[in-house]
Subunit: 431 residues, 2 copies
Amino acid sequence: MALKVALLGCGVVGSQVVRLLNEQSRELAERIGTPLEIGGIAVRRLDRARGTGVDPDLLTTDAMGLVTRDDIDLVVEVIGGIEPARSLILAAIQKGKSVVTANKALLAEDGATIHAAAREAGVDVYYEASVAGAIPLLRPLRDSLAGDRVNRVLGIVNGTTNYILDRMDSLGAGFTESLEEAQALGYAEADPTADVEGFDAAAKAAILARLAFHTPVTAADVHREGITEVSAADIASAKAMGCVVKLLAICQRSDDGSSIGVRVHPVMLPREHPLASVKGAYNAVFVEAESAGQLMFYGAGAGGVPTASAVLGDLVAVARNRLARTFVADGRADAKLPVHPMGETITSYHVALDVADRPGVLAGVAKVFAANGVSIKHVRQEGRGDDAQLVLVSHTAPDAALARTVEQLRNHEDVRAVASVMRVETFDNER
Amino acid sequence: MALKVALLGCGVVGSQVVRLLNEQSRELAERIGTPLEIGGIAVRRLDRARGTGVDPDLLTTDAMGLVTRDDIDLVVEVIGGIEPARSLILAAIQKGKSVVTANKALLAEDGATIHAAAREAGVDVYYEASVAGAIPLLRPLRDSLAGDRVNRVLGIVNGTTNYILDRMDSLGAGFTESLEEAQALGYAEADPTADVEGFDAAAKAAILARLAFHTPVTAADVHREGITEVSAADIASAKAMGCVVKLLAICQRSDDGSSIGVRVHPVMLPREHPLASVKGAYNAVFVEAESAGQLMFYGAGAGGVPTASAVLGDLVAVARNRLARTFVADGRADAKLPVHPMGETITSYHVALDVADRPGVLAGVAKVFAANGVSIKHVRQEGRGDDAQLVLVSHTAPDAALARTVEQLRNHEDVRAVASVMRVETFDNER
């Protein structure tokens, strides 16, 4: 007896899910133990052209009617956004259907409701495609590291911003022209806000943090800074330090383990770090776990076909669970660690200051750091005379103290301008 | 009611499994839904010092008695080697116990027997720790890519050889001194044969190939060349081409999809490839799948603690399956693709020849390539006079034709010596 799949959405990802379900029906049936059959496809408009292989008789605009139909076993949601996706998924769950979704926004905003409903109903909600596209990442975090303790997750989880920063790094180009190039090539949308302001990465950070720390985290808990302020000067300053600039989603347990910090912002990263070599629109997530040590997962973070591949992997798993009359209770958030504010997060800053080249300037600047309880890790002076620049990297300190230091430097009489400020991420025993 | 675990072996990995089971008992119980309890630990000698936390009352030398005990639910095998591991695992399976093993040698030699017995008995055999230590790799290959089609797997799966090659690359050192340094630092064993001759990597290649292509593959099917012949000249020649030398396990579907090739040998790899930046004793596996595109999994490939982490991840999974009265039928080999011999594998060669610097030499050398049906991709001459070297890279051709070409060049009147021969791995649309 075939398992019937309802598909919500038939756009870039949905049409590829249909194609793969058709093309690989025999292999999928073997791996599951029974065939999968598409029972219906919910779309907004019936008159739109669909990919080949999409049977028009399966199309319907009544998504709610489809997901609650008695003969449907599994629901795949690839419409995105909060509503109507949430209502449809909850209705499907209450009717005992298992769900596969790629919806990062919904899971980041209201994953707790979805997971609780699934546990209650005894069904699966799988969502590998919601973070880092085709990269098998969430299930390894949830399952393979189930016997381990994760301390930090660092992710390049937005391909658009990685493409832009990579162009800025390799060509010395500015943000605006790199964004325009990304838009021309289809790597960035006409309205790039969700990507370049870090909203997309913040939703993924929330999902990663919950999985890594078993703690409820929503997008609102995530400190978020985008890349629109990253300048060619920042990139050049990073290069001079042997670093590269990346937009990272960082989920980190505090040193005493009593709280977590979740944030998205540009970071200077040593060039020899595995994340530094992630080029173009690729994604990668670096995990530091107590026993497993350092792990990295790398691959295509977006695109219809890779995302559909992740959806199919999930579909095989939920179909097998269904046949075995079992399910995986996900959304475990029983550790309930508080999320500390950004100001309490321990970070380290790189600061480049345009200064007058005269004795006493460093002493004055160092005094500002000291007054805020921040110690300086290294300092170097570049140029002479009116072009003199003082480049400082701090030791780690609470982010609020570092931010205050920079604020006071902006108004310092010896400082003509703050040319570049960016957080530096440190590794291993560097801290 | 607790699930009872029998542990076979209490060495580097086993003692860490005990430690983690003790330290994380509460977290593990939560994730599984019931506590895990160590029912017994089989060791060869009772009088040996064990790590703290190993209860002496649990030790026994009667491994067979332990795994067949009625109260044992799950068996963890970390003794390695073919026997007695195989007999113990088969006895446990026949008694209805699920098994977690890190035993690459056994799975590569006789995985078919183990998997068939497990299917028959309706129990799990999980073996994440057998390839690439702590890196969650086998389950993503098996589960997350279940709806995809894998075309090629390239793995750095032996940390010892990667460490040695990395030292040769970064310091210009020779093989022998790099091996000695690796031995002094504990990265290589006193008898390094299994690592440097590629036996360890070949066993892992067999396991990866079966998972990737659903085809029976044993270590005997794997073409194997180690790194003992890799010279400082090869490394320098690779550098001149913008390449790095890595020992790779390569599992590849033929272009027409009708057969597979599985091989372990040194490879020149472009420096910008993600595998090229895998340093020291780290492991990484690069996967090319039809829909998912390029994926890479990176992490610690060995060591007691990382390997124990992988064992615990598996233990959580099999424990949950047991509670749900389900199991995962692994060892699927129904595609039954033939493994083609190395001579039929399509590869590409880098060849550096010491030649006399006089007109006509290139013509003579090119004629040898042409006679074997091999076309030349690029050629450059280095040096003049008696130091003249001709460096050629071929287009792809059957490996036998390339090997024959090199053999004939060795005896060619214009060639004073073949200074370096190595396969070059190509990517994307390069071929």
